[in-house]
């Protein structure tokens, strides 16, 4: 479903070329829950951006839903963003001029969900994430953790087929983090493909497969034995 082969990402500065990603080969199947780990600056976010069609690789081939990414037309890309991809950004990226309710609602508007249904869905999510009381506040009025919750809610409310989560629990209390991971696990069980980036070993274990990136290279790629053992 998702296939990267020999993906390079580099930036050219005046005298040298800096590689962020180098010859990445990766295949993700439907229903996978992939965890990406690695030190800071390893290129994890960059990889997620490429997978999520936000950025383009400098070299190599990338297949999204079995379609060569460089051939995907602008229109089709918009469509993918509407229905296929949900994004949780490391930096949250909430829309400053919209309040909590509207931030969560926005993807539904682009998906063309009708007003009534939208209302019900948003209410449900507010409730589930325990932020009903905050629904009229703007991002600047929220704590970092609260912002993260909103960002997560916004990413999954449209039930995307692929969820790209860049440190979704980084700012959360461990109990809340646990709650979120359970929620992701549940969504994964229901069929959502998830790729998460995390520094937390414990949360990494929620994935059924873990890859480790270092200096732009995939150092290891392993099925999650612990999890399988558990099953």
């Amino acid at each position: 479903m998702i296939k990267l082969s020999k993906i390079d990402k580099y930036y050219d500065s005046r005298f040298q070329r800096t590689f962020i990603l180098k010859g990445i080969n990766l295949e993700v199947n439907q229903g996978d829950f992939l965890t990406i780990m690695g030190p800071s600056g390893a290129g994890k976010s960059t990889l997620l951006n490429i997978i999520g069609l936000l950025d383009e690789p400098s070299a190599g081939e990338y297949y999204f839903w079995d379609e060569p990414a460089h051939q995907i037309r602008e229109k089709q890309k918009v469509q993918y963003h509407r229905t296929h991809i949900g994004f949780i950004f490391q930096a949250f990226h909430l829309i400053d001029e919209l309040n909590v309710y509207e931030n969560i609602e926005t993807p539904l508007i682009y998906r063309g969900v009708k007003g009534k249904e939208r209302k019900a869905l948003v209410a449900d999510f507010l409730d589930r994430f325990n932020i009903v009381a905050k629904k009229d506040l703007f991002p600047s009025q929220l704590s970092g953790g609260q912002q993260q919750l909103v960002a997560i809610a916004r990413a999954i409310i449209g039930s995307p087929k692929l969820l790209l989560a860049d440190e979704p629990t980084g700012n959360l209390h461990s109990e809340q983090g646990e709650m979120i991971m359970k929620l992701l696990k549940k969504l994964n069980d229901e069929g959502m493909t998830i790729i998460q980036v995390t520094h937390n070993e414990k949360f990494a274990q929620y994935g059924n497969r873990i890859i480790r990136i270092e200096d732009g290279l995939v150092r290891s790629d392993a099925m999650n034995i612990a999890l399988q053992a558990e099953v």
Partner: protein, 789 residues
């Protein structure tokens, strides 16, 4: 989707965005200018079509002018079945005319003298009374609504009587016969009151004349169908030729019918029609487009700046599934209400400044004038252009493949070039307009300060009525007796006015030819009085033979090719043969718009002269008042209750340049508005740039940069743009203004300092505008600046 975007926009508006307010202000001013100027231009263009039947309406014209004598017209009013109506009219040429009702005097306003066929040719809507047949006898008078209101305070005035007095025709009594609806602003023939020509024929003996050459009427012809035009022209020529072959061939030439709809742009002096200047329409049209362009650029820049600030948000929206189309819809949704609010403000601005603008432009627009299909269409067009270009430009910033960049970026590197180019365009236009304003001003003061070649200070002149001219000799003697009257002379009309074009026969040593020149009747003291040099001969003396001795200016002698003036004879009016006894130095007897033409002076008896000139001893205001009181006492003795009036010659001459000054003022206002709009845009751009660089400024200051260094850094770019704009604007303005100056007979030079001054002005305005913001950014506490991020 649209309502969703609208909601976002309204939220921004309510949160009181200063940039947004500036945006609205600048653009409203521009829209008000567009509204007014487009209406003004439309009105000028429509003048020719202001008469209902303009398609079959013509002015009788000939190669040698469009003025006709009574005698000539009789030949045309015969049996032409294809002519529906033919009417002769003329304007008022009196120095002063007024009405008297119940012992109160009222300025007569604009008078039209029309013969009894007038309403066969022109249609007007009657409010009260009846217009048919009213002009047949000399007793009725017709007012427009405004005219009636001014004098009677109401329009229910049928049958009211009033006395009409005018310096050219004396005194007559009239009865109001009808009041017609006010003429629309685009009317070409304008008047406040119609007086029947019959009244003049009844009351004024000299007015009745069967001279072929007494050409005082403009003649309008209404045809049954425009198709018969050529045919009618043939018949008219034939009729005229057979009636007065010599006059027709020599003085008039080929006769033709000039379509009414083309008359507003034809060259002509003050007749009964208002004339539009093609040049003025073109210039105003150009400025209108410039003002709009300046405002449009602001609009685009400001909106783009806003959007760049929200660039991250737009990126997020895209990740969440917004398509380019959605983004464009959003932009439109934000611009539309902005446009709407802008238009609303523009209308308000216009309503409040309308009376000022009417005064400045000499127009008579009401608010309702702006509510017409053409104006509305203009507004819609300009709105659509605005909407289209702003959406296009703004979208181009965000139409990128790599979403990641949009998400991360704050400024949009390469696109800055577009913004800078737009900025240079704005500066260029502003500098060009400033140069033009300066040149126009320089030309005006050049014309007004140029000596006309005769003495014009401390001179007062008094127009005499027809009756009083008979007593001219006595009045003159008595006035000359007043102690502070230094000198006195008389003439047929005031200097500065040209009203007597004569076509006479010159016999130059046996060679006969027709010559055309401006004529002025004067008394023997005229040249001495005005300090005009006599080049040849001794000038007129008290022994001069009246109505016979001529003096021409150099130009005339040159044009006529006279070798020896003593051998030349000129036929004078009344067909007496006159001698040429001398030549005077050329001087500007008209405004400096015209080159000096041939002029002939005839020594005349005081009874034939209508203007008395007095050179007064003026050492202080009191003395002047006393002298004038003495003059008035003399006047009252002979005037038979005719009011005393006098004019200062320098004022009269100054008035010749009134239209130029008006135009200069209009241009100055528009230049000012353009520069103002440009500055608003510049200001917003500087705010935007300062905001973008807030963090940089903070860090530089933490590292020890001085305020002056930061200021220099922020202002440097703008100075560069002004310099580039100056280089572009200079040749354009040079070319345009050279072209404009070609319209003047006497022109000022395009001095280098004009360009330098314009450049400095633009630079000054730019630096002040930008520094306002730079200063704020540069003096901000660096900690605060860094926290701002």
């Amino acid at each position: 989707m649209f309502t969703y975007s609208l909601k976002l926009f309204i939220r921004q508006l309510i949160s009181g965005n200063r940039q947004l307010l500036l945006n609205i202000l600048g653009f409203s001013v521009a829209f008000a200018v567009v509204l007014f100027l487009s209406t003004f231009i439309l009105t000028e263009l429509k003048r020719g079509k202001s008469a209902e039947n303009y398609e079959s309406l013509y002015r009788l014209s000939a190669e040698e002018g469009a003025y006709w004598s009574s005698r000539s017209i009789e030949e045309f009013t015969g049996d032409f079945p294809e002519i529906k109506g033919i009417t002769k009219v003329h304007a008022d040429w009196a120095d002063r005319s007024y009405f008297e009702v119940d012992d109160n005097q009222y300025n007569a306003g604009k008078i039209l003298y029309a013969d009894k066929y007038f309403f066969d040719v022109f249609n007007y809507q009657t409010l009260v009374g009846n217009i048919t047949g009213t002009l047949e006898t000399g007793e009725s008078i017709i007012f427009t609504e405004t005219g009636a209101l001014k004098i009677f305070g109401g329009i229910d005035v049928i049958g009211r009587t009033l006395t009409f007095r005018t310096s050219s025709f004396g005194e007559m009594d009239f009865k109001v016969a009808a009041v017609i609806k006010d003429l629309p602003p685009e009317a070409m023939m304008t008047f406040d009151v119609i007086i029947p020509v019959a009244a003049l024929e009844d009351n004024v003996s000299w007015y009745r004349s069967d001279h072929w050459g007494q050409s005082r009427y403009e003649v309008f012809v209404s045809l049954v169908s425009s198709e018969s035009k050529t045919n009618i022209e043939k018949q008219l020529n034939a009729a005229f030729q057979s009636a007065a072959p010599e006059y027709a061939t020599q003085d008039k030439g080929e006769i033709f019918l000039k379509p009414y709809s083309t008359l507003n742009f034809s060259e002509s002096h003050d007749g009964v029609l208002l004339h539009s200047s093609v040049r003025k329409v073109k210039i105003l049209g150009t400025i209108m487009m410039i003002v709009f362009l300046l405002a449009l650029i602001n609009f685009i820049n400001l909106n783009t700046a806003q959007k760049i600030k929200q660039s991250r948000d737009i990126g997020i929206h895209k990740v969440l599934g917004a398509s380019n189309w959605n983004s464009s819809v959003r932009i439109v949704a934000e611009i539309l209400p902005l446009l709407f609010v802008t238009l609303l403000f523009a209308v308000l601005i216009l309503v409040f400044s309308l009376s000022y603008l009417n005064g400045l432009f000499d127009s008579s627009f009401h608010v309702s004038t702006f509510i017409q299909p053409e104006t509305l269409l203009t507004i819609v067009c300009f709105s659509i252009i605005t909407l289209f270009f702003s959406t296009l430009f703004i979208s181009s910033y965000f139409y990128r493949k790599n979403l990641f960049e949009v998400l991360k970026s704050n400024s949009s590197g390469k696109k800055e070039n577009i913004r800078n180019a737009l900025l240079v365009i704005q500066f260029t236009l502003s500098i060009a307009l400033i140069i033009a304003s300066l040149v126009i001003n320089k030309q005006n003061s050049f014309m007004q300060n140029q000596s006309p070649g005769f003495q014009k200070d401390n001179i007062v002149y008094i127009p005499l009525s027809d009756q009083m001219s008979k007593l001219a000799k006595t009045i003159k003697q008595e006035l000359a007796g007043i102690s502070d009257v230094n000198n006195i002379t008389m003439a047929s009309h005031p200097l500065g006015e040209s009203e007597m074009g004569w076509g006479m026969t010159l016999n130059d040593n046996g060679d006969e030819k027709r010559v055309v020149y401006e004529a002025m009747l004067v008394d023997e003291n005229f040249f001495d009085f005005f300090g005009i040099d006599i080049l040849n001969g001794e000038g007129f003396r008290s022994s001069s033979i009246r109505e016979s001795e001529h003096i021409f200016n150099e130009k005339a002698i040159q044009t006529f090719g006279i070798e020896d003036i003593t051998k030349a004879r000129i036929s004078s009016y009344d067909n007496a043969t006159g001698e040429i006894i001398g030549t005077v130095k050329d001087f500007n007897f008209e405004s400096l718009h015209h080159t000096i033409r041939p002029i002939g002076f005839v020594c005349a008896e005081p009874e034939n002269l209508q203007v008395i000139y007095l050179n007064l001893q003026v050492s202080n205001g009191n003395q002047l008042q006393e002298t004038l009181q003495k003059v008035e006492a003399v006047w009252n003795k002979h005037a038979n209750s005719w009011p005393f009036e006098y004019y200062f010659l320098d004022n009269t001459l100054d008035n010749l340049y009134k239209a130029d000054r008006r135009f200069s003022k209009v241009f100055l206002l528009l230049t000012f508005l353009s520069v103002f709009i440009g500055s608003l845009g510049l200001f917003s751009t500087s705010v935007f740039i300062a905001e973008l660089r807030t963090k940089e400024i903070g860090i530089r200051k933490v590292n020890g940069a001085r305020i002056s260094e930061i200021l220099a850094m922020l202002n440097k770019d703008f100075v560069k743009w002004v310099a580039i704009a100056f280089v572009i604007a200079t040749p354009i303005a040079y070319y345009a203004m050279n072209k404009w100056l070609e319209n003047f007979a006497y022109k000022t030079g395009l001095s280098w300092w004009i360009f330098a001054l314009a450049g400095l002005l633009a630079l000054g305005i730019a630096v002040i505008t930008v520094s306002w913001q730079s200063w704020k950014a540069a003096t901000r506490n660096p900690v605060e600046a860094l926290r701002y991020e």
